[in-house]
Symmetry: C2
């Protein structure tokens, strides 16, 4: 038996699944479970799904070592009040006091963070950005998310809504984004944008020899960013060109980020992280033009340590350093246990 | 006689002048002097000009109360090493160890900051952003500069070169900026840009009735941003339109800033601060479209407290909190005095 540790219960609430797990002080996930989060019509139903996910973890023999709960959500939060304001993919919650409800139910202190912001934190304390006090994290997938750690602390902004760098416009006359702005970097370099651009180009005359079509079994509509990536790796010139265009836009955007923030390190996560890393040479060459910072080439750009567990681990990281918690919560837990048994 | 205080000697090195002064713990400038900084050919000559400026302050009876020296420069620095790397308007300095030279000469600890970054700090600790831990500062003048305070501390970035938000592109297909990028916000909304746009519009047919021309005595080349401002105030429609265009671009840019950073407050300084503040309604209406943050309208946008002394005061603010300094430097000063008398 390993000796008792200070563990944190991390909960990553997504639009289609909830992941929960026990995370130790080194950022290792000891035990995690995933449950589905679908078609919840009310906040009661939505919260029940969260309880179900946590229940799976509480069965674990080491769950009693949990000192606190960290929760991440893909939406707008009020970090100070612990309220989930709204989330496009979680419509059942609106101004929902998530932290308060969880604290009441489990007798442990809880904290709330945005998924990309806490993923940045996970990378800064335990991942590829460890030992850096100032980390810019970007997650490339369907969309583009960003998060920051500054002075060794998560950067929340005024209410916890900072870090929407995916909707930084780099061309206010550019294509209309779903957010209402034009020319957001998401419109040029997200997985969705890369796939859309590929389908556009494949519809043009003369493109029917592209390997992308072979991979997609001739179905243009089935072409995804992964298709483009595979075809480019196999030497398809059109696919390579589409990835170069995305890289060029990422270079412009990262130039803005470096000029404004000069992070100590840029960490790239998300399902398409490797795709971005394969274009790093191109991105760096664009930075020569699109960043005025004279030492822009010195800023490391590295792949994230955490993949799909980044938000779960990051939610737990909201409670660092854990040591401080132990005494206080041991006390709290004892009180809770007493009042709970008194009620019975 | 007022009782002895902990004072900081602030030095603001500009391209054409050096300002130095004694700043107290409340951010009040007790005494300041300006000297000229022109045509220095070598770093020796440049440094002599800095010494001359400081010498004027050291004559002041209360100069002996100075506990430390803060220096600001309009250029690229390495904050940790205290080195002035380069500054377009101070070509005599290149990789110049400013902090080391000043510490050696005066026996007081010194720190170095970029002018816009330290101005942000001054506003955050003593100015319009006081009581806010997270301040975004922008200075509107010939160009556009930015600086940030995060978690109550100056935001330096990796080397001290963060805060070049004036060169964030909002349109990578836009007009070419002197920095080599296209569509920087400086190209749309700085004093230089506003004046250039006015001169362009005044050269078009039908514009010769504009009040801007009256104010400029018929000389298009003499039109400045101040001319545009005056004419707009007097009801000139073309001038008003030019300011609206600048405000529209500022709204797009501030939308990016709010989405990425969600500052607790935005503080506007520089010679054209009031011009921007007069367009605040227009800027806020653009933010409705150009910021996705659902609470963007709640972010206060206010005018700076410090005008032309912002960098001088900010340089002093690099040493906050002053209390910590007293014991250590009293000790240091005694040592210095001893070794100095031993040498004599």
């Amino acid at each position: 038996m390993s000796k008792s540790k200070n563990l944190i219960l991390g909960v990553d609430i997504g639009g289609t699944k909830i992941a929960a797990g026990l995370v130790d002080e080194k950022g290792e996930v000891l035990f995690a479970e995933r449950t589905r989060m679908i078609a919840r019509k009310s906040s009661d139903q939505g919260f029940q799904a969260i309880r179900d996910a946590i229940a799976l973890i509480l069965r674990h023999p080491r769950a009693k070592e949990a000192r606190a709960i960290g929760v991440s959500v893909p939406g707008w939060i009020d970090a100070k009040r612990g309220v989930l304001l709204s989330a496009t993919n979680l419509p059942c919650f609106r101004d929902f006091p998530l932290v308060q409800e969880i604290e009441k139910l489990y007798g442990l202190p809880a904290r709330l963070g945005n998924d990309a912001n806490v993923a940045a934190l996970a990378e800064a304390v335990w991942g590829s950005g460890a030992r850096y006090g100032n980390v810019f994290y970007l997650t490339l997938g369907t969309g583009i998310g960003t998060g920051m750690v500054v002075h060794h602390r998560i950067y929340q902004g005024r209410t916890g809504a900072a870090g929407e760098g995916g909707h930084m416009t780099i061309n206010y006359q550019g294509p209309l984004c779903g957010c209402g702005k034009r020319g957001c970097i998401e419109m040029y370099a997200s997985g969705t944008a890369i796939a859309r651009r590929a389908r556009e180009r494949l519809s043009e005359p003369g493109a029917n020899e592209s390997r992308m079509l072979t991979i997609a079994h001739g179905n243009i509509e089935a072409v995804t960013a992964e298709t483009v990536s595979k075809a480019a790796t196999a030497g398809d010139p059109l696919a390579a060109q589409i990835l170069e265009e995305a890289a060029d836009h990422l270079g412009i955007w990262l130039g803005n980020i470096i000029d404004l923030l000069e992070p100590e390190i840029i960490v790239v996560g998300g399902g398409l992280a490797r795709l971005l890393m394969s274009s790093l040479g191109r991105i760096r060459s664009r930075l020569e033009t699109w960043a005025i910072n004279p030492r822009q080439q010195e800023v490391p750009i590295v792949e994230a340590r955490y993949g799909s567990q980044s938000a779960l681990v990051g939610a737990a990281a909201l409670w660092l350093p854990v040591a401080k918690l132990t005494a206080r919560n041991a006390h709290r837990a004892v009180r809770r246990a007493k009042s709970s048994s008194a009620r019975r």
